[in-house]
Every structure is written in structure tokens, then in C-alpha cells.
């Protein structure tokens, strides 16, 4: 696929159809890929890559890229296309300045995920059929690709692109991979147990803001927490609950707009499963207002911003973790 994409990018640059290419650039190791804007065939030749480690969602970069003048080619994976649509809906991306080329994805892993499986000293990674053959400082190791995937990819919602101008490779389908299984597990806990679970997870937060900054739904020009004049901007937590509260508030803020791309959990240095908070809201919205997938299209009104006579009454909403 990488070769096909490279040819496509060079062809569109040469014909003048696009001025820049948004993709992924190879790093020092096999897995440390960086999002990159390429402006020439030489730059593409030197670093363009597409492999099993291109997990970064590129859509948020298009907020800026689509405003720089000229046209940008963006290679988007299925889950990136949901974020793209959602940003179009929120008038954040200038659609006519982007040429979307959909690319297939079989799930993306990263160095951290491999290391969590006990792989040490990675020198190189080769793909052999359905396996990774990992060359390390301490010998070779073979791992099935499916065993190397993070949770967000194991519970992938869709291999189908919801928007594209051109498509490379075979189009996939929407999937039912049990993405609410872990939410169900959390719901089955009693309130005290669930409170303790989230306290434990969220209290590891170091407030680096990586989750917020990577999130395509967090696209405010200036976040209230970065605004000196807001009265809530603080670089230090006033008490031990503040960071917990930050994540809960952020989940509310993106509710109905979060497409469940899982970038928040991927980037968290403290491995907090933040995407589960968002998934709980997605599940609740589905239950209370009917199935809704943010980013599926660019025109429908989201349940939380649309009043209908059939809307759920507050009284049926569960309270304190218990049925009211």
C-alpha cells in the first residue's frame, strides 16, 4: 500500500492537483512515526511511510493545513474520516482545500503496546504474513499482528471510510467488535467500586494535556484551561480531585461529538483508559436518543443539540450510578 500511496501522492503533486501532502514520516526506529506535511516528490521519497504504526489521526492537522492556501492531499484511515466529517460539520476544516484519499487500515500498533507485551530493545520489525518478526537486542521474536493491537483497534467500529474523494485499496465494512464490552463491565460495578476505579485511573494524570491537544473534538482556538483570565486556568491542581474533574468535564464537552477514535488513550503517558469515559457517553446517547455515530455524516443534527418531542425525559436518566 505504501508504494501505491507514494505514487498517488507524487502524481497529484506533479499534476498540480495538490500543493502538499499530509501523511506519515519514518523515524529512528521501526515504530516511531511522525505526522508530516510533504511539499515535494523528494521529501516524499526521503521519508513517506505507511505501515502498521501509523496510528496518528491526521484529521485535526487539517484545521490549520486547510487554511494555509493551496490544496492539501490528506491520506485518511477509516477512523480518521469520522473525525474529518465531524470537523467539517463543526466548520473547522475548509473542505474545498482538502483532497481526501482513503487508505485501508488493519489496525495500528505502536512501540508502547509492543513493550507492554514484554518486547525489549526493538531493532527492527518485519511483517511476515499475519505476524510481526521483531528483531531485538536480545534475539528475534515473532508475534501475531492481532496480538499486538491496542484495545481501540481490537474494538474497531469501522473499516469503512465515511468520506473520501478517492479510495485506495479495498473498502471495508462497519464492524460490530464489542466496543461497549468494557463499558458494560464498568456499568456492572457498584457505584463505590466504579468510583474507586476511576479515582485510581484518573489520579495518575499529570495534566500534560496530551489527550486534549490530540483530540479532534477539542478544537477550541483557546482552551478555557489555558486562558489566564478564565479564573479556572491553573497549572497545579487545587486538590486531589481536580485532575479527575478535568477529564470528566472534558468528556462532557466532547459528548455527542467524540467519534471514538481513541487517540486520547493512545497518547496518555500514564496509560489512563480515557476513551472509556467517552464511550460511556456514546452508549448513553445511543440508549437515550437512538443510535448515533458522530462523524458518520456532515449534515445530521446531533442528539444533544437537537430537540425533538420524543427526547428522553431527565427522569429516566440514571442518578448516582443507580436507577432513579
Amino acid at each position: 500500500m505504501q508504494e501505491v500511496m507514494l505514487e498517488k501522492a507524487k502524481e497529484l503533486l506533479q499534476s498540480g492537483a495538490v500543493d502538499r501532502v499530509l501523511g506519515w514520516k519514518a523515524g529512528e526506529f521501526a515504530y516511531d512515526i511522525t505526522p508530516c506535511v510533504f511539499a515535494s516528490a523528494q521529501e516524499l521519497e526521503a521519508g513517506f511511510v505507511y505501515n502498521d504504526f501509523c496510528g496518528n489521526n491526521l484529521s485535526k492537522y487539517l484545521i490549520k493545513e486547510s487554511r494555509k492556501g493551496g490544496k492539501v492531499l490528506a491520506f485518511l484511515k477509516p477512523c480518521d474520516t469520522y473525525s474529518f466529517n465531524q470537523l467539517i460539520k463543526e466548520h473547522r476544516i475548509v473542505r474545498e482545500n482538502v483532497l481526501v484519499v482513503g487508505v485501508p487500515c488493519q489496525g495500528m500498533t505502536d512501540g508502547e503496546t509492543l513493550k507492554a507485551k514484554g518486547v525489549k530493545g526493538i531493532l527492527g520489525i518485519k511483517t511476515e504474513g499475519e505476524d510481526f518478526v521483531i528483531n531485538t537486542l536480545y534475539g528475534d521474536r515473532t508475534m501475531a499482528k492481532k496480538d499486538a493491537l491496542p484495545e481501540r483497534c481490537l474494538s474497531c467500529k469501522s473499516k469503512k471510510h465515511v468520506v473520501y474523494d478517492e479510495l485506495l485499496g479495498q473498502e471495508g465494512d462497519k464492524l460490530d467488535s464489542g466496543r461497549f464490552d468494557l463499558v458494560n463491565k464498568l456499568e456492572a460495578m457498584d457505584p463505590e467500586e466504579r468510583f474507586a476505579f476511576w479515582r485510581g485511573e484518573l489520579s495518575r494524570c499529570i495534566r500534560c494535556n496530551a489527550c486534549r491537544n490530540v483530540c479532534p473534538a477539542c478544537s477550541c482556538e483557546k482552551c478555557v484551561f489555558d486562558n489566564d483570565a478564565s479564573g479556572v486556568a491553573q497549572k497545579a491542581a487545587a486538590d486531589s480531585f481536580e485532575e479527575n474533574m478535568f477529564h470528566i468535564i472534558r468528556a462532557f464537552h466532547v459528548a455527542g461529538r467524540c467519534t471514538d477514535c481513541g487517540e486520547c488513550s493512545r497518547v496518555c503517558p500514564q496509560n489512563i483508559p480515557l476513551h472509556l469515559l467517552n464511550r460511556k457517553f456514546i452508549k448513553d446517547i445511543n440508549t437515550l436518543y437512538g443510535d448515533y455515530q458522530a462523524g458518520e455524516d456532515t449534515v445530521s443534527r446531533a442528539p444533544l443539540t437537537n430537540f425533538t418531542e420524543g427526547d428522553a425525559e431527565p427522569s429516566i436518566v440514571t442518578k448516582g450510578g443507580k436507577k432513579a
Binding site: 511522525t34 499529570i206 494535556n209 497518547v267
Partner: protein, 341 residues
């Protein structure tokens, strides 16, 4: 040199941890290592490094500096510090151990930061030699020997024994506290392990990282390089790199309104943040390119230029593992080094 049978590790930790706070690397709920207060039954993690560095113990993420209380026309000034007690950090790696030397140059230079100084004086650092470096390790680029970590006392561990050696008076005291468990010997085993670790270290992909030209003399060509825009292009502006970094030492001091006064606190700052070093007149670095440049110029150029050539990095590799977009000091150094040679 003294040695203690490995099955007595629990007894060793208990002997130290019973008397004073002892912190060891232990796995958290997410399976990553972090320094955790020892308690009976807490198992030491075998991980190479903790997610957060050991600097937290001397330079915490937040601390209260002074309280002001207003009563009528009186303002009471309160020092919120309680007496610092002795504590032991066990299992610090060579990279983190060297980071204290760098932090000392900042906080113990005149005027001495007494908050930091007090913690340094009361903390005993017991290091643990590395045996299985990762590909992200590059401490050797800064002259650090992963097989011979610094600190007050050093520990090497193999499948049978822990080998201990003191480097300072505090280290002597530490060894004294576990005297009953120890016997003499171990020099040969330690030497064998060191040779093996150094052999692996030399094979790591970043072992040959060359920092030639990163100094005050080459400041201007590096500062004006066009590469910064390219390197910082995908930067999210989050603070991950700076917060997991053992040598990042920038902080902010702010006031918290308590209703009847002010609590003045200090907290880690990050050059990646939009309000970094913002002053009354505004912000000296308006774009992410400038803030990004600041981080690497500080570590690779400004710090060595002011500190006898010592770089503000110890090659622990945390930023390599944790940056959401995999941009880091190694990529920056390699790219820029093409311009100064």
C-alpha cells in the same frame, strides 16, 4: 563490596522501609513502573525505568511556597514547610542519578533554593545498575555508564545476589542499615555483569549519537536554522516530554486565592505551553516553533554553554517513548547536526 542473597530482597527493603519512607519502582494498575512508597508485600518492578522520573522527589510537580493570611489590616506570612524527614530512593537508574547533578546546578547555585536543598539533604539515592538497555537508551552519549550508576550507594542485581557499594557517607549509612543481611564479596560477578551490559549498550542503535557542535559557539546557526519549523510541524504543544523528563526544571509561581488570603505555589511549567514565561508585557515566544526550539536549545546549547559543557539531557529515552507524535531530542539533534558540521 557487600552482597546479599536475592531472596533477601524483601528483608532488605523491610530493614530500610521500617524506619523511614522508602520508595521503590513498583507496577501501577496500568502495568507501568513508578516510584511507590514501600509497604510490606510491595514487589519491586523489574522494569528498566519508571514513567515519571525520580526528580519528583526533589522537585515535585507542585509545592506550596508560602501562605499569606489577611486579618483586618494585618497580613500574616506563614512558611508552610514541615520538617523534612529522611527518605530513601531505591532502584534509581544511572540516567536519573545523573539528572540530580544537573538539577543541583540550577537549584543549588546562588541563591540556593532551600526547598530543593532540604529534600536533597534528606534523601538517600540508591541506584540500580541496568542490565537490559532499550533501543531508546542513549545515556552513553552523555558519558553515563549504565553499568556503574552514581548516587549515594550502588546496587547490581543478578539472578542470585544483590551487590552493594557505598559512594558517600549517606551510602555508608544505608549499607550499615542492612549490615545484618550482607556478606563481603561480589567484585567478580559485578565486573562480569558490567562487561555484558556495556557490550549490549554499545550495540544499541543510539550508542553513536554525536553531539559535536552543540555548544555556545554554534548558537546562531542553530538558532536561525530553518529546520525548526519542519521539526516542530506536528508538535501538539502538550507537556508530555517536559513532564516525564528528569532534567526539565522550568517552573511557574502563582497565587491561589484561598478566600482570606493567598497560597503561593510553585508548579512545573512546560516550554510547550502557550503561556510559558508569559509576563506583564506579553509572551516572548508567540508560536509553537519558538517554544519547541526553546526546549532543545536549552538542553543542547544554552545549558552546556553555561555549565562547562554539560548537556541538559541524560538520555533516559522517556520522551522517545512517550511523545504522542514521536518527535524528540534525538531526531532534533541528528537533523541539526547536519548544519553545524
Amino acid at each position: 563490596m557487600r552482597k546479599i542473597a536475592k531472596e533477601k530482597l524483601g528483608a532488605l527493603l523491610a530493614a530500610v522501609g521500617r524506619d523511614k519512607p522508602l520508595y521503590i519502582p513498583a507496577l501501577d494498575a496500568s502495568g507501568q513502573a513508578r516510584f511507590t512508597r514501600w509497604h510490606e508485600g510491595l514487589e519491586m518492578a523489574r522494569a528498566l525505568n519508571t514513567v515519571r522520573s525520580a526528580k519528583d522527589f526533589f522537585f515535585p510537580q507542585t509545592e506550596n511556597l508560602v501562605d499569606f493570611k489577611v486579618k483586618g489590616k494585618q497580613i500574616e506570612i506563614i512558611d508552610p514547610r514541615s520538617e523534612q524527614e529522611d527518605f530513601v530512593l531505591f532502584g534509581v537508574r544511572a540516567c536519573d542519578a545523573r539528572s540530580f547533578e544537573i538539577l543541583d546546578k540550577v537549584f543549588l547555585a546562588d541563591p540556593v533554593d532551600t526547598y530543593y536543598q532540604s529534600r536533597r539533604e534528606h534523601g538517600t539515592v540508591v541506584t540500580l545498575a541496568c542490565t537490559q538497555p532499550e533501543e531508546t537508551c542513549f545515556c552513553s552519549a552523555f558519558g553515563i555508564d549504565a553499568a556503574a550508576p552514581e548516587g549515594d550507594a550502588q546496587v547490581w542485581m543478578d539472578e542470585e545476589y544483590l551487590y552493594l557499594s557505598a559512594r558517600t557517607q549517606k551510602g555508608d549509612k544505608f549499607l550499615e542499615s542492612v549490615r545484618a543481611l550482607a556478606e563481603d564479596g561480589g567484585e567478580d560477578a559485578v565486573q562480569r555483569q558490567q562487561e555484558e551490559t556495556r557490550r549490549v549498550m554499545a550495540k544499541t542503535p543510539l550508542a553513536g549519537l554525536n553531539l559535536e557542535g552543540f555548544d555556545g559557539e554554534h548558537l546562531n546557526p542553530l538558532f536561525d536554522s530553518e529546520k525548526w519549523a519542519e521539526l516542530s510541524q506536528a508538535c501538539l504543544g502538550c507537556g508530555t516530554c517536559t513532564f516525564v523528563c528528569p532534567t526539565c526544571q522550568c517552573y511557574d509561581i502563582r497565587d491561589f486565592d484561598t478566600g482570606d488570603g493567598v497560597r503561593r505555589f510553585r508548579c512545573w511549567d512546560s516550554c510547550m505551553y502557550s503561556d510559558f514565561t508569559k509576563m506583564a508585557h506579553g509572551n516572548p515566544r508567540l508560536t509553537q516553533v519558538e517554544r519547541f526550539r526553546q526546549r532543545f536549545m536549552h538542553k543542547l546549547v544554552y545549558f552546556p554553554a553555561n555549565n562547562d559543557g554539560q548537556y541538559g539531557c541524560v538520555g533516559c529515552g522517556r520522551c522517545l517513548s512517550k511523545c504522542p507524535i514521536s518527535m524528540n531530542i534525538v531526531k532534533v539533534a541528528k537533523e541539526l547536526s547536519k548544519e553545524v558540521r
